[in-house]
């Protein structure tokens, strides 16, 4: 940012020192481009300060209606189900480990220590 531009913008936000004021005044007096640029900044600030956007009629009613609607928290519900499921699986695996001393597939199926025939019969009976 050049010095004069910096002074222009600074003058819009705060008071310049006497030296700065003189420097800015000289620049504005001698350059039409600088004068126009300064006018532009003033115009932009004026325009922004005067803008009055609104949400339109009945905004507070829309807020109150939205507030009255029950909020469905899908993620929250899913989170609870997920936590319960993980806890149930963890409990199951701990109990299998204490009963069979292992977490291999046979232990998880509940057929550890059986022969092939016994496993077949237990499958048929099941």
């Amino acid at each position: 940012m050049n010095d004069v531009r910096e002074l222009m913008l600074k003058s819009l936000e705060s008071t310049l020192t006497q030296d700065e004021q003189i420097k800015l005044k000289n620049a504005l007096d001698t350059s039409e481009a600088m004068r126009k640029e300064m006018q532009d900044y003033e115009l932009i600030r004026e325009s922004l300060a005067s803008s009055e956007p609104s949400f339109g009629e009945g905004f507070s009613n829309r807020v109150m209606q939205k507030l009255a609607k029950p909020q469905i928290d899908l993620f929250g519900s899913f989170k609870n189900i997920a936590i319960s499921s993980v806890a149930a699986i963890a409990l199951l695996m701990i109990s299998v480990y204490f009963m069979d001393g292992s977490l291999d597939l046979d232990a998880l199926y509940g057929i550890q220590g059986y022969s092939v025939e016994e496993e077949f019969y237990s499958f048929l009976n099941f």
Binding site: M1, R5, E6, L9, K10, L12, E13, E32, A33, K36, E37, Q39, D40, Y41, L43, I44, R45, S47, L48, A49, S50, S51, E52, P53, S54, F55, G56, F59, S60, R62, V63, M64, K66, L67
Partner: protein, 188 residues
């Protein structure tokens, strides 16, 4: 009863809302919707979704009213929520910038040369929507909302020096965007 709320301090109004007085909350919405509209529409533009973001600001506030400790004013607190939700909306949109700006001042041009006041306001709003978010948030709070540099720095959680430099750079960029828009218009 509702007129009474105007006499309430922020703390009293919050207490009434916490106690379940919906008319207190409705009064708060009516009282601050104008300020929130300035922030939200300044940040994301005058688009239909701005209304939803505005509603969400108040809904969020309502649900987190117990967290309001009164360290800042209600307006500042609501503005902070509005800025955060607007930034989320902007991230979600990820609007593509379609303008290519140059910083080359080949012509001596002035915004007021071509445009009437209404056009200027529209042009400034349009240009604002093309300004980088970090500059836009400072411009909206400082120049549209009229917050002081200190308040702006508190809302955005930035040092005051950063706010001042972004403000200066923002104005410079905004002017450049307007001149570019003007150039684009004159080609059409």
């Amino acid at each position: 009863m509702r007129k009474e709320f105007a006499k309430y301090s922020d703390g009293q109004l919050i207490d009434a809302i916490k106690a379940g007085d919906n008319s207190a909350f409705e009064w708060l919405v009516e009282n601050y919707e104008h300020d929130i509209a300035k922030t939200v529409k300044g940040m994301i533009g005058n688009v239909p979704v701005a209304d939803d973001v505005g509603q969400e600001v108040f809904i969020r506030f309502y649900h987190s009213v117990s967290k309001f400790r009164g360290d800042s004013s209600l307006k500042t607190y609501l503005t902070r929520i509005a800025i955060n939700l607007s930034l989320n909306e902007l991230k979600r949109r990820k609007a593509k910038r379609w303008l290519v700006f140059d910083n080359d001042h080949r012509e001596i041009k002035s915004i007021s040369d071509v445009h009437k006041q209404n056009d200027i306001n529209e042009m400034v709003q349009l240009a604002l929507s093309h300004l980088e978010t970090k500059f836009r948030s400072v411009m909206v709070l400082r120049l549209m909302q009229g917050y002081s540099t200190k308040e702006t720095s508190e809302i955005l959680n930035l040092p005051q020096g950063t706010v001042l430099s972004r403000l200066a750079r923002g104005q410079e960029k905004l002017r450049q965007i307007i001149l570019n828009l003007e150039k684009t218009e004159s080609y059409e």
